[in-house]
């Protein structure tokens, strides 16, 4: 209780009413994602022990599966975190991912003529990243220069990328010939799946950019008060365009990983995970009004979704319940955020 008292004192407020409740709510809001994750893991663990006399958390296979399960939505969510902090949203990433998956497969197959799988790999990855920059730049230009609302601009690009992906794939999946891509996509290094390790590298890069580089600081400022950012001399236009390019690039990584994992590129690869990626960012503590959010929060958010999806299958619940469970978590998460904001006024 001493601790609680200290915490109530620690933030000076103009109002003075309901400070105690507000303080607890703020704490709850700040750690809600961790709390959710802990509750989920505990629930599944107990469930597994009681119903099946087995373990959920302490089974390395489960941990590995959940990590792999998390990779795709998390990659989309990483770029999305930046965009949402700036006050925008990127609905196009699902099909930017699909586009990159299809391009990876096509280019990898095309480059087989050089007879060196290493070259094929490099060329395919470069092409997939390069192609993703196009929707990213167009999104950025629409939003930063033409003042199109992000929701609408990226929804348009969602349609364009979707159509182009299916056209490139001729309406079907594009199988990859030759093994290196698949070997990397399904292989492990020192016991960890390669895709998880690569994702960790990308996470570190994105965390640095958001929380330690000047660019990240500017993105928070843009999301907090765009006029303040402008008056401070920040190049809001270029920063905004860079955001959507960044978001497209993490989506492209997800597309490349998809093709590597399944040895086939599919236009619809990212469709089921688009909303999961936004959910991960929101569950992770970002506000859709901009100005707040962290990479670590987003990782926890993506893990929560993966644990729900994988856990429910593990304990033999009908798979459709996962949609309900994820939906409930999103709503609770936003409610806690709103209550905390309400307490602030």
């Amino acid at each position: 209780m001493v601790l609680a008292k200290d915490l109530t004192k620690s933030v000076p407020l103009a109002g003075g009413r309901d400070q105690k409740g507000f303080r607890w709510l703020a704490l709850l809001a700040a750690f809600r994602a961790w709390l959710f994750l802990a509750i989920l893991l505990a629930t599944f663990e107990i469930w597994a022990r009681v119903a099946y006399h087995s373990t959920f958390v302490f089974n390395p296979f489960n941990v590995k599966s959940i990590a792999l399960f998390t990779v795709t939505p998390l990659l989309l969510a990483l770029g999305q975190t930046f965009v949402i902090i700036s006050g925008g949203i990127d609905l196009s990433v699902g099909f930017t991912m699909g586009l990159s998956a299809v391009v990876t497969a096509h280019v990898y197959n095309w480059a087989a003529q050089f007879g060196n799988p290493g070259i094929s790999l490099v060329v395919a990855v470069a092409a997939a990243l390069a192609i993703a920059i196009v929707p990213g730049l167009i999104n950025g230009h629409l939003i930063a220069d033409l003042n199109v609302p992000p929701f609408i601009g990226t929804l348009g690009m969602y349609g364009v990328a979707r159509g182009v992906s299916f056209l490139l794939a001729r309406g079907t999946t594009v199988p990859v010939q030759g093994g290196l891509l698949g070997e990397i996509g399904n292989g492990e290094t020192i016991g960890f799946p390669n895709l998880v390790l690569l994702t960790i590298v990308i996470i570190l890069g994105m965390h640095y950019l958001l929380s330690h580089a000047r660019y990240g600081q500017h993105i928070y400022a843009i999301g907090g008060n765009v006029n303040a950012a402008l008056r401070a001399g920040i190049n809001v236009r270029n920063s905004t365009i860079a955001l959507y390019v960044l978001s497209a690039l993490t989506a492209a990584c997800a597309g490349i990983f998809y093709t590597a994992k399944f040895s086939a590129g599919a236009a619809q690869a990212g469709e089921p995970v688009l909303l999961d990626s936004i959910a991960a960012v929101v569950i992770g503590g970002a506000s859709l009004f901009g100005g707040s959010g962290t990479i670590i929060g987003t990782i926890i958010g993506a893990l929560i979704i993966a644990v729900i999806q994988y856990g429910l299958v593990f304990v033999n619940v009908e798979p459709f319940w996962q949609f309900v469970a994820v939906g409930v978590v999103i709503i609770i998460s936003v409610l806690v955020d709103q209550m905390q904001k309400g307490g602030r006024k």
């Binding site: 580089a213 600081q217 008060n225 006029n227 008056r231 001399g233 920040i234």
Partner: protein, 249 residues
């Protein structure tokens, strides 16, 4: 007081500005000395905004000259004015309230430290330097690591002023700085203005509140329909005279 032995910081002569059919400013002259608070008074539409925006580089005057520290200047953008040391504190504050004190004071000019060759934003140093600047103005932020939204309106106002001072503003233009504040906070802002005066900053102060004007200003310049209709030393005028100038010239 406006010591005549000092050179003026700002010297505007015959500034005119027209927006379409509206003569916003007509042959306005203004002088500001270091360590002086000049109040701008006038009814809505009298030209106060047009005048400060001309000084801060938002508008370019059609006619007239602006001398700043003895040199004729032509600011193309507000950025140039700010870089030269003319800073405006706006009513909406231009504060990112999701960032802390350091983040705001150093916004766009963050301090970096290198760790294994990579540049990292040095939050601790930014916070420390920001807090020191604010302390010089007798502003004390209890939890400098919290985002500014947890601060009161007056404290946020102080951070905006502190930022200007940290970046060596010589002329501070304050547009209704007390309008949105409660009484104790208004008093605090008045105290800060007194402090700024002592440190030799020139302050141009716009307010609707004559009490505030009489409390901190040295001189008052009254505008009406774009023209200067009077200029008085605060010590030699009173509320009635100022109101008369504002409404009737």
């Amino acid at each position: 007081m406006n010591a005549p032995n000092k050179d003026p910081l700002l010297d505007l002569e015959q500034i005119s500005k027209r927006f379409g059919g509206l003569q916003a400013l007509k042959d306005v002259a203004l002088t500001l000395y270091p360590g002086e608070v000049l109040a701008l008074a006038g009814d809505n539409g009298a030209g106060k905004s047009a005048l400060i925006k001309t000084i801060s580089g938002v508008h370019k005057p059609d006619r007239g000259t602006i001398k700043y520290r003895g040199q004729v200047i032509h600011f193309e953008t507000p950025h140039q004015a700010r870089d030269a040391g003319i800073e405006t504190i706006y009513q909406d504050l231009a504060i990112a309230d999701n960032l802390d004190v350091g983040g705001n004071v150093f916004l766009g000019r963050e301090i970096l430290k290198r760790i294994v060759g990579l540049p990292f934003v040095d939050r601790r140093r930014m916070r420390q330097e920001a807090v020191e600047t604010l302390q010089d103005l007798d502003i004390h932020i209890q939890h400098p690591e919290s985002p500014l939204r947890s601060l009161s309106g007056g404290q946020r106002q102080s951070v905006a002023i502190g930022r200007a001072i940290h970046w060596k503003a010589r002329v501070l233009i304050m547009d209704e700085p007390t309008a949105a504040l409660g009484v104790p906070e208004q008093r605090k802002v008045m105290e800060i203005i007194q402090k700024l005066k002592k440190s030799g900053v020139g302050v141009i102060f716009i307010s609707h509140n004559l009490n505030d004007i009489f409390q901190v200003s040295d001189r008052i310049l009254v505008l009406r329909r774009g023209e200067k209709v009077g200029e008085r030393l605060i010590s030699q005028t009173n509320h009635d005279e100022v109101v008369r100038l504002m409404v009737a010239g």
